[in-house]
Amino acid sequence: MTQDAETLYRQAGERFAPALARLARAVERDAEKARDLEQEMHCALWTSLARFEGQCALKTWVYRVAHNVAADHVTNAVRGPKKVPLEEIDALPSAGNPETDAAEALALAQVAELIRRLPSLDAQVIVLWLEGESAAEISDVTGLSSGAVATRVHRIKGLLAGHFQTDPSKGEIA
């Protein structure tokens, strides 16, 4: 690895390590496998950065690599619940422990459960939106048009609004 690439890797680590950890934990329920997936993202990123020549923003590059590794992980994993496109989901799925007292943990678990049940691209849009990325940034990472991104975000906001106290002014997609 060149010095530049190693510097970029360290910069990416400082800025995006928590986001990649959240992504890994969202797509993989098993904590140990989620940690392995996180490390797999780091390795893929480390390898790929040797090819980084400023073709896009570092953030876009990092998210693309991480989301593609996550998508491959989901594809290769043992078959889970059948994937249901976002437009066919009417309510948030149960995280399996509805009586928990930890409301926040339950909320996160429910969102993660929703993400695990969505096809890759829908899940990628939701995770990036949760990270606070704009429609243009989500479009850059996923390759979806801004319109397709906006449609998906509108749908997920509708699903979440009924369950959580979210500020409607936050996460507005331009």
């Binding site: 593609n68 949760l130 606070g132 704009s134 979806l144 959580f164």
Partner: protein, 191 residues
């Protein structure tokens, strides 16, 4: 970037850090070792197939069944071609992990669909001459003693089952390839 809509989400995993480059190097090395081990296993399987084919061919030569010798050798060559094709296909897979997610998914689906849809030519096809030669040798053996009609009546069912099995494998793989192509069409329809 907008204000994160769901603060609980972005507040979690704040203590996460990237794997140290030295550890990443070790992992990459372990991955290379895994690939090397897989290649060695593939070559060992190929060599075992050749050795086994030669041994069986030698046995048939020893008992004077030379049609069987030819059939086993053709089948052995077929296995070698399949091994080569497997290796060639595995090494040809491009992994541009930094491309936009939709392109990455599309590429993966297309690669898998192409591999599954053409399984008849690169996996089943090379084994067909050996399979046919072996069947012919079996028919020939029986026909020498009892005539072709009885040979067909006696051994024809095994041949039919073999053909049905191979056709079934091809059909199943083509069905899976069509499902993947539908996924590609769904991706194309998203934009």
């Amino acid at each position: 970037m907008t204000t994160p809509p769901f603060p609980n989400w972005t507040e979690s995993a704040q203590d996460a850090v990237f794997t140290e480059p030295t550890e990443v190097l070790l992992k990459a090395d372990r991955f290379d070792q895994t690939v090397r081990r897989r290649n060695i296993r593939e070559y060992a399987a190929g060599v075992s197939g050749v050795v086994l084919s030669l041994a069986i061919a030698g046995f048939f030569a020893w008992i004077g069944k030379f049609t069987h010798v030819a059939a086993v050798l053709i089948l052995g060559v077929g296995f070698l071609v399949v091994m080569r094709n497997l290796h060639h296909r595995a090494s040809r897979l491009e992994r541009l992990i930094e491309e936009p997610c939709i392109d990455h998914l599309r590429r993966q689906y297309l690669h898998q669909a192409e591999a599954l849809g053409s399984v008849g030519s690169w996996y089943i096809g090379p084994l067909v001459p050996g399979f046919l030669a072996m069947q012919l040798a079996i028919f020939w053996d029986v026909a020498q003693d009892r005539g072709w009609e009885e040979a067909l009546a006696d051994k024809g069912w095994a041949f039919a089952i073999g053909v049905a099995f191979l056709v079934g494998i091809i059909a199943l793989n083509r069905w899976a390839a069509r499902r993947l192509m539908r996924k590609v069409e769904e991706l194309d329809a998203l934009n």
